[in-house]
Structure formats: structure tokens, C-alpha cells
């Protein structure tokens, strides 16, 4: 820690001493002025004092910011699960937002407070209704309040009794709320009654009611009726994955694997993407009944093909299922993978992150066609510029590293931009790599942040291409990197999500993501003149994989919020001794 702290200190002093001294002078003058005016009883200058405090605070944040940036020696990759979330929280803290003040639904809460604690008689309800703000919505609001407070069902019943006696009927909307209460709290007999009444009283039910009933019936002995209900939903609308999950859960729990699998196939036919609960129920069913093992393995294959990661619950179930497979002796364990791509639990090597030649060619074509040209070449560039760039790239030898100039230059929130860029470029040129720096033309205008000498040095050390100021530079970056071949990396903090979104289908998107994880260098720590360090590029692919003797399944651990552009770090390692 010692050697790390020392440069740190020097940087702080270097950067802040002049600023600090200047600020102090300012502060003093302000204070004098305010004191002069305070005699006259003018209070407006108080705000200035507060401002001073704010400045001090900001300074404090800045210095802390430095400390945070350099503490971890190998910071987590931007693609590791939970990084984005953590960064966001850090930024929030820095900006002074606290996590506690989350918006709450005041109206619901207020109504929850109004709810009586015992069943009321009709007259009592009537009195309450007359005393309420909006008598026309009173009944519904009460019922909603009971839902959110999960109140005793007898109170709800007494409300219904009041409504029935008072108006002679119970409206559908209210019945629906009551049904929700029954299903949420598990009053199955009540649910049967409500269902019967609804069925006889109304010609058809709405989708929400059907969904509730599917959920409710799936947990009871009358689970077979969920199939009828599902069919009813099917007539109106495509059922949701959750509807199917409930129905499949019911079938599997009651030992009817065949029904469960029929439902699952139906779901796939409709093109609905099954949720993790569905798979969990299927695997749970598979623990006791091993007739459908091939289908379960095909689910794992499906998850691999679509780069889906199971959550922790599902991963545990999968492990249980593997371990329960007869005469195969599978042993499961939780594991992490070494940076070199070796599983720490079983010692086997994981798949490489490098693309096959065929995939690489596909990706290259697709990026050229969809990302750079797109529907309209003019959106991101012009045809002339694109031709120029193609010529530029083809005339030069393949690059080893391509730098997104503007992105790298803005790594530090303050400091000279060209200096930062020069430092990074020098770092690579010392390693004897062939470099391409991409930028925009305004970088050559010689302004305060773009020093002419720095730019000259950069141009000596690297090949440079400057696009028009209104063109985008990221597509060129992608093109140059892909064109130079599989060994070429690129430097940028940008996650390229907008460019990934331009790709036409899931397969190329996944290819792009895989390639990106294997080729993107992200600046992790940077101290001007001292240290340039990059995040480590993963050497293995994070995806469900198998060979004859083992399965490796990356999964989402509980409590880690993973974004779509991140991959999990925990693995389920399954090996067989057979």
C-alpha cells in the first residue's frame, strides 16, 4: 500500500495546490464582503458562505475519489456481474444522494391505515363510506388497501356483504380484488366459491382473473382445472410465461410429468420464452422421474445457445437433478474460474473466448453491413469518408491495438486531454505495438485541451485517422479492429451497447458480445506520468459448457444485480467419475 499511496499524494498536491490557494483567496474576499454587508443587515450573502461549504465538500469528494480509484490492484472487469450496479451506487454517493429516500406509494399506505381491524356491520361500513373523501370509489379503495396490508379475509367478506345488501349485487371489479386477496393469502375454499360465482354470473372472465385463478388452482388439489383455465386464456390472448410456469408447477408437483412436458412443448411452439421458474419445476420433477432426462439436457443446450444464465435457485435444482441421476455418480460443487480459464474445483480448462474463423467472418460482415452502413450511411458518416477510411486501413499493416482517442482522453475528469491520450499511446508504443488512434478533426485545432505538440507526438507514435466532427467514431473503431484480425484489441470505456443493438439477430449479438469481452481493453487505473494499467481480458468464455465428463454452468448468485452486458462470475461445476 505504501508505494501506491506515495504517488497518490504527489498527484493530489500537484493537482490541487494551485487550485486550493486560489480558492482560499476567493474565500477570504467573500468573507470580508459578507461581513461588511452583514452589518447592514443583508442576509443574502449567507448563501455565499454555504457555497463555500459546498466547494469544500466537493474537494473532499475529489480527494476521496482518488483514493477509491486506486485501491484495488486488479479491479473487476466492466463485464463482471454487479459492476455497473456498484459503480452507480458509488456515483450516487458521490453526488450526495442517499439510498434511503425511495419513493413510496403514499395513497396506498394511507388507505391501509384506514382499514378497520375487525369485520364491520353494514351500518358501520355505511357510516365509514359517508365519512370518506370519495364515496364512489370508497369500496374499491378499501379492498385495495386490504390487499396491500394483507388484512384478515373476514373484514373483506364483511365489506362484500355490505355491498351486496346495499346495492343488490357485487360488481366485477370488486370481486376481482377479492379474488386477488383469496389467492394471495391462500384461502382456497373462498377462491372456489368466487370462481363459481364469477363463472355463473358473467359470460367470460378477463385475463387478469384467469391468471389469478391459474395461480390459485395450481396450488390446490383441483390443479387439473388450470389446464381448462389456460385454454380459456389461450382463446383470448397468448398466455404469459408465468401462466405456463404455474400450470407446469402444478403438474410436476402432482406427479404428472407427462402433462408438464406437454405444456412445456406447447409453450415452445407458441414462441414464448420460458422463465426460470418453469425450468426449475421441470428439473424438480426430473429428480424423482428420470424419464425425461434427454429433454432436460436439451434445456441446458437451449440455455447455452441463447446465452441464458440460471439463477441460484435453478442452479441448485440442476445440481440436485444431476446428483440424483442413477448410475452416473455426478458430483456438484460451487466454483470460481482462474483468470487463466481453469476451473478451481475440477481443474479442467474452459472454452476459449476466441471466436472461430467462421464466426469471426460472420461478425465482421455483419458489423460492416449493419453497424457502419445501417439503413442510412449518412446517419453515422458519409460514403466518401467511409471509402477514405477503408483505403486508409487497407494501405497500412494490421494494427495490434486501436484506440478510441476521445474516450481515452476523457478518462480523467480533469487534466489535459491530449496529455492523457499521449500517455496511453506511449505505453503501447513502448511495447512495440502497431497502434491506430481514432479521433475527430477538432482534436487537431490546437486548443487548450488539445495541445499541438502532444498531438504531433501522438501522430509520430501511431497511425491516426480523424473523422468529421459530426461523424461517429465508434463504428470506425469496430471496423478497424475487426479488419486487423483476431489478435487486435481496442481501447475504450464505451460498452458499445448502441452498436450491438444495430445487429440484426440474437446470434450475431451474442457473437459480438463474446468478441467484445475478448478484445476490449478498459483503462482501470491511470496516473499521469506514472501508471497506465488495463483491466484484464478474460481468456475463457462464460457460457454453459460440457465435455463428456463434466458440466460447467455459470449462474447468477443471489443478491448480485447483473446487467444484460455483464456475465456472472460464479460457476456450478459438475463432474462424473463414470
Amino acid at each position: 500500500m505504501g508505494p501506491l499511496l506515495m504517488p497518490n499524494l504527489r498527484v493530489c498536491l500537484q493537482h490541487f495546490l494551485p487550485v486550493l490557494s486560489r480558492r482560499n483567496v476567493l474565500n477570504l474576499s467573500h468573507k470580508n464582503v459578507s461581513q461588511c454587508f452583514k452589518v447592514g443587515g443583508v442576509n443574502t450573502f449567507c448563501t455565499k458562505n454555504i457555497n463555500n461549504h459546498a466547494v469544500d465538500k466537493r474537494k473532499a469528494f475529489k480527494s476521496r475519489d482518488f483514493a477509491i480509484k486506486e485501491r484495488p490492484v486488479f479491479p473487476k472487469s466492466v463485464f463482471a456481474a454487479g459492476t455497473a450496479r456498484r459503480t452507480a451506487e458509488l456515483m450516487k454517493k458521490k453526488a450526495g444522494f442517499s439510498d434511503t429516500d425511495e419513493p413510496s406509494d403514499y395513497s396506498r399506505k394511507r388507505h391501509a391505515a384506514e382499514i378497520p381491524d375487525r369485520p364491520l356491520t353494514s351500518s358501520e361500513w355505511k357510516r365509514m363510506k359517508e365519512g370518506s373523501e370519495r364515496p364512489d370509489r370508497f369500496v374499491l379503495r378499501m379492498m385495495e388497501g386490504m390487499l396491500s396490508a394483507s388484512a384478515d379475509i373476514n373484514i373483506a367478506k364483511s365489506l362484500l356483504a355490505y355491498v351486496a345488501v346495499d346495492t343488490g349485487t357485487v360488481p366485477y371489479e370488486l370481486l376481482l380484488r377479492y379474488l386477488t386477496l383469496c389467492v394471495n393469502d391462500g384461502h382456497w375454499d373462498e377462491m372456489y366459491d368466487v370462481y363459481d360465482i364469477m363463472k355463473s354470473r358473467f359470460r367470460s372472465l378477463d385475463t387478469g382473473a384467469y391468471s389469478l385463478l391459474v395461480k390459485g388452482f395450481s396450488k390446490t388439489e383441483r390443479w387439473k382445472e388450470t389446464l381448462v383455465l389456460l385454454e380459456n386464456i389461450n382463446k383470448i390472448i397468448t398466455p404469459s410465461p408465468r401462466n405456463y410456469a404455474n400450470a407446469i408447477a402444478a403438474a410436476m408437483k402432482h406427479g404428472s410429468s407427462a402433462t408438464g412436458w406437454t405444456l412445456y412443448n406447447q409453450l415452445l411452439e407458441k414462441g414464448i420464452s420460458p422463465n426460470q421458474d418453469t425450468w426449475r419445476y421441470l428439473f424438480e420433477g426430473g429428480v424423482s422421474d428420470h424419464k425425461y432426462d434427454d429433454e432436460l439436457l436439451s434445456i441446458l443446450q437451449h440455455m447455452r445457445d441463447n446465452q441464458i444464465y440460471p439463477d441460484e435457485l435453478l442452479a441448485n435444482t440442476i445440481r440436485k437433478w444431476f446428483e440424483s441421476r442413477p448410475d452416473q455418480k455426478w458430483i456438484g460443487g460451487i466454483s470460481i474460474v482462474n483468470p487463466s480459464g481453469v476451473c478451481r474445483s475440477c481443474g479442467s480448462e474452459l472454452e476459449s473466448i476466441q471466436l472461430t474463423d467462421e464466426d469471426y467472418a460472420d461478425l465482421k460482415d455483419s458489423v460492416m453491413k449493419n453497424v457502419i452502413k445501417g439503413i442510412d450511411v449518412f446517419k453515422k458518416t458519409t460514403p466518401e469518408e467511409l471509402e477514405n477510411f477503408k483505403g486508409f486501413v487497407s494501405k497500412r499493416p494490421p494494427f495490434d491495438v486501436v484506440i478510441d482517442g476521445l474516450n481515452v482522453a476523457n478518462t480523467l475528469s480533469r487534466g489535459n486531454e491530449s496529455e492523457t491520450l499521449l500517455a496511453v499511446v506511449s505505453e503501447f508504443s513502448q511495447q512495440g505495438l502497431s497502434i491506430l488512434v481514432l479521433g475527430r478533426k477538432h482534436m487537431l485545432y490546437s486548443t487548450r485541451s488539445w495541445n499541438r505538440h502532444h498531438m504531433k507526438q501522438i501522430q509520430q507514435k501511431a497511425h491516426c485517422f480523424f473523422t468529421e466532427n459530426i461523424s461517429e467514431d465508434d463504428p470506425f473503431l469496430l471496423y478497424a479492429t475487426l479488419h486487423s484480425g483476431n489478435h487486435c484489441n481496442f481501447v475504450s470505456r464505451d460498452l458499445m451497447r448502441d452498436h450491438k443493438a444495430c445487429l440484426p439477430d440474437g446470434r450475431t449479438k451474442r457473437l459480438f458480445f463474446k468478441w467484445q469481452r475478448g478484445h476490449q481493453l478498459v483503462l482501470s487505473s491511470f496516473i499521469p506520468g506514472k501508471m497506465v494499467r488495463f483491466q484484464r481480458i478474460q481468456s475463457y468464455d462464460t457460457i454453459i459448457q460440457t465435455n463428456t465428463k463434466s458440466w460447467h454452468i455459470p449462474y447468477d448468485a443471489v443478491g448480485v444485480e447483473r446487467c444484460t452486458y455483464e456475465v456472472p462470475e460464479k460457476w456450478l461445476c459438475l463432474t462424473t467419475s463414470n
Binding site: 356483504a161 345488501v165 371489479e173 360465482i197 358473467f202 378477463d206 449518412f378 453515422k380 466532427n469
Partner: protein
């Protein structure tokens, strides 16, 4: 007496007498009455629910309010016996109706959708009360549940507005009616004052329209062109297209009614395209043909010289600091609810045109929202800056929710640059403006009839300018 009567008859269509209008209103009355009864011809016969149900009499009614016993399941018996109650009369006469609905829900693909909509309505979701077959088809076309819900909510909100407006109009109509009755009573009382004492001729709406027409005609010959580029129809959803046309209509209307209007061009207008169809639908064909604008399928670069054109787009790197009266500004006629960044800039690049954006950052402290504006806002800003030369005036049309006033007002520490800027071009600009006015009035050698016409027009204009200075506020 007879002479007086005939005179009255002669005068009636020409003066502000109240009688003819009263007649008109009476004629409309029956139509309004029947519109209420035939609300929804498509509604399938659904059993009437809670609202119209008679009070339940057979259920055990609580007799003593104080000592009433809680029967928690009473509602079940109420509902169940209702079903029995209902089914007996329905059996006899409902065969036809039930059969009909049964056939409908099976045969027509819309039946299921209609049922869905009805059930959602009962479940308390935001769904319009009346829905046409055309709208139902659109609902059925939406593939997901959320898309259906969104569209239905949109329809429900629209219906709500329509209803509110209708109620308002009805209220106004009744008020007017009663007012008129009072005045006519007064007139009856003093029958001698039937002839109004008005020595000034009333200024008719028709004459006003004529004047505006002349104004537009003049703009079409001498006015500064303003181009709407209509080439984006394929990049938008149907609803966005409708919004675009609404905004264009509004721009055209305010142009027509303003002093010294622009000469509007709708360029790139495909005669078979969706824009053209929608325009014809909104203006009638006749009005569209007679509209004082230039609509053409040609591109702007075919109609004007290349260096005259400036494409206004929010994505441009250049700032429009001064409004040039010799340039032709192009506005892309597109509404991008979905994100379409850089579409108009791409178009300008393709045509190699000069581009510019409004000096929003220079004059306003932007707070939220994208820096794209609606077409009518764009038009009003351009017109105002043309007339007054002041960006401060013009940028008042930027919605206030998007910014926090001009930076000049606030403490100048942060905005020194922005503060300095606006004053310089403003001054330059006013002088320019005065020059151009002088040119119109004095220097231009005009042929005599047009010159006289112009003079009268200018006289009138100064009047109307005073009277209708803020016409947009009236709207």
C-alpha cells in the same frame, strides 16, 4: 310597415342580427338529441350489471340496525340467487340474441377482441366505452397484451377529451341560447329599437379571410420561403404521422393568420404517400387545392439554389446566430416519439446542405427533455425571429417545462459567454430588419395596382397587428 319589413329581410343576412343564427341552432337541435340515443350500435348485448340492477329484496334484510348479526357469506347467496333469478327470464327471449353473439364471437375474428375489451372494462382497466370496428382491428393486430392495453388506454383518453369538449360545447350552447332569449325579449319589449344603430360597417370574417388570402398570395410571390421536408413518412409510425400532420396544419394556420407570412413549401411530398392522404383527410380536397402554399414532390435543391438552403436540425454542430432573410430554411417534417437521432442531419449531409440548430443553449438554460421541438413551435420561433429579430422573443415558444429561463438573468459567473453573445447580433439584426421594411415601403419599383394594394394592406396590417398581436394566445 311593409317596406320596413322587406328592408329588414334584406338586411338580415348582412348584419349581426341574432335571428338567423337562432334558426340555425334550432335546426341542429334534433340531431344532437338523437346522437345521444344511438351511442353504440356495435355493442353486443351484455347483461346489465351492477348499475341497473334492482335492489335485492328477497335476501334476508337486516331488521334491527343495532343488533344486526354479521353474516359474512351473505353476498354469495345474493349473487347466486341473482343468477337463478336472471336465467329464468333470459331463457325465453334470449335465444336469438345469445345465438347472435355466439355466432359473432366465433365467426368474426373481432368477436374475441371485443369480448376482451369488454371484460377489461369491467375489470376497471382504462378502456374506451365505445369502440369502432376499425379500432378493434388495430387492437387485434397488436400482438402483445401490453401493446393492446396501451392502445386502448390511448383511445380511452382520447374519448375522455372528446366527451369533455362536447359537454363544454353543450353548456356554452345552452348559455348562449338563454342569453339570446333574454335579449330577444328585451327587443320585443321595445319594438321600436329593432333596427340597430350601427353607423360603422361590421368587419366580416369573410373579408378577413379575404385579406389573409391576399396576404398569403403576396407571400407566395414575394415572401421568404420556408420549406417543410416531407420525406420522412416511412420512418414513422401511423400515429406519429398523424401528429406530424396536425403540427403542420397548426403551422400553416398560424402562418396564414400572421403578418408577413412565410411562403410555405411542402417539398418531397409524395402524391401517393401517407402524408398526402392524411393532408387530404384533414383539409378537405377542395381546401387543400386552394391552399396558399406550394406543395411539390420535388426536392428542395431542385427548387432553390444550393447555397441559399439551410437545413435546421437539432443535431447540427452549427448554431444559427442571426436569421438571414435571404436564406431558405428547411424544417424536417418528422415527429420522433421513438428515438430517431440524426435522421434529418443524415438527410442534410446527403444533399450536402448547410445545417444549423437554434441557439437554445446560448439563450436558455436547458433543464430536461430533448432539444427537438414540435413543428409549430419551430414555425413560431422562426416567424418571430424574422419579425422581431430577437431570439429572446422567439425562444419564448420553447416549452417552459424544458428550461429555466435565460441565463442572463441568473448570476453571471457560470454563463459569461452566453450572456455576452445575444446582445451583439440582436442590434445588428434590428437594423437589418428596418432596412428590409424600408425596402418594401419605399424603394421597390412596383407597378401601380399592386403598389396601391400593398399600401392599403400595410395600413390594414398595422391595425390588425395591434388588434391581433398575440393571435396564438387566443387559440
Amino acid at each position: 310597415m311593409r317596406f320596413v319589413k322587406s328592408l329588414l329581410n334584406e338586411l338580415r343576412p348582412h348584419c349581426h342580427s341574432l335571428l338567423p343564427r337562432l334558426n340555425v341552432n334550432k335546426r341542429y337541435l334534433p340531431a344532437l338529441e338523437c346522437s345521444g340515443s344511438s351511442l353504440n350500435p356495435f355493442q353486443t348485448p351484455v347483461r346489465s350489471l351492477c348499475t341497473s340492477w334492482p335492489k335485492w329484496k328477497d335476501a334476508p334484510q337486516p331488521k334491527d340496525l343495532e343488533s344486526e348479526k354479521l353474516d359474512l357469506d351473505i353476498w354469495k347467496s345474493v349473487m347466486r340467487s341473482q343468477v337463478a333469478h336472471e336465467e329464468t327470464p333470459r331463457d325465453s327471449d334470449d335465444d336469438g340474441a345469445l345465438g347472435e353473439t355466439g355466432v359473432m364471437s366465433k365467426d368474426s375474428p373481432l368477436g374475441a377482441t371485443r369480448e376482451l375489451v369488454e371484460m377489461w372494462q369491467q375489470a376497471g382497466k382504462r378502456v374506451p366505452e365505445n369502440i369502432t370496428d376499425e379500432q378493434l382491428e388495430i387492437v387485434a393486430e397488436h400482438s402483445t397484451k401490453s401493446a393492446k392495453k396501451k392502445y386502448l388506454k390511448f383511445l380511452a383518453i382520447k374519448e375522455g377529451y372528446k366527451k369533455g369538449n362536447k359537454e363544454k360545447q353543450e353548456k356554452k350552447r345552452i348559455e348562449r341560447l338563454s342569453e339570446r332569449e333574454e335579449t330577444s325579449k328585451e327587443e320585443d319589449d321595445e319594438s321600436s329599437s329593432k333596427l340597430r344603430n350601427s353607423f360603422l360597417l361590421p368587419f366580416w370574417q369573410r373579408s378577413f379571410d379575404k385579406l389573409l388570402g391576399w396576404q398569403s398570395a403576396q407571400a407566395m410571390r414575394f415572401g421568404q420561403p420556408l420549406v417543410f421536408d416531407m420525406s420522412y413518412e416511412l420512418q414513422m409510425t401511423p400515429r406519429e404521422r398523424e401528429n406530424t400532420i396536425s403540427q403542420l396544419l397548426e403551422s400553416e394556420g398560424s402562418n396564414r393568420r400572421s403578418v408577413e407570412p412565410f411562403h410555405l413549401h411542402f417539398c418531397n411530398l409524395n402524391p401517393e404517400g401517407a402524408y398526402h392522404k392524411e393532408l387530404l383527410k384533414r383539409y378537405s380536397t377542395e381546401t387543400w387545392e386552394n391552399l396558399m402554399i406550394t406543395a411539390s414532390p420535388q426536392r428542395p435543391i431542385d427548387m432553390f439554389s444550393h447555397d441559399q438552403l439551410v437545413y435546421l436540425t437539432a443535431d447540427s454542430p452549427n448554431v444559427l446566430r442571426t436569421f438571414d432573410h435571404n436564406k431558405v430554411y428547411i424544417i424536417g417534417a418528422l415527429v420522433d416519439r421513438s428515438n430517431l437521432p440524426g435522421v434529418s442531419l443524415a438527410n442534410a449531409k446527403r444533399l450536402k446542405l448547410a445545417t444549423a440548430r437554434l441557439p437554445l443553449d446560448e439563450h436558455l438554460r436547458w433543464e430536461c427533455g430533448a432539444k427537438n421541438l414540435t413543428l409549430d413551435q419551430m414555425f413560431r420561433i422562426l416567424w418571430t425571429v424574422k419579425q422581431t429579430g430577437s431570439w429572446v422573443e422567439a425562444l419564448k415558444f420553447v416549452p417552459q417545462r424544458k428550461h429555466a429561463g435565460s441565463p442572463a438573468k441568473k448570476d453571471s459567473n457560470d454563463y459569461k459567454g452566453a450572456e455576452r453573445r445575444p446582445t451583439v447580433p440582436q442590434k445588428k439584426f434590428i437594423s437589418k430588419q428596418q432596412h428590409s421594411r424600408g425596402a418594401v415601403e419605399g424603394k421597390t419599383p412596383l407597378e401601380s395596382p399592386i403598389a396601391t394594394l400593398l399600401k392599403t394592406k400595410i395600413a390594414v396590417r398595422s391595425d390588425t397587428h395591434k388588434a391581433r398581436k398575440n393571435w396564438w394566445e387566443q387559440d
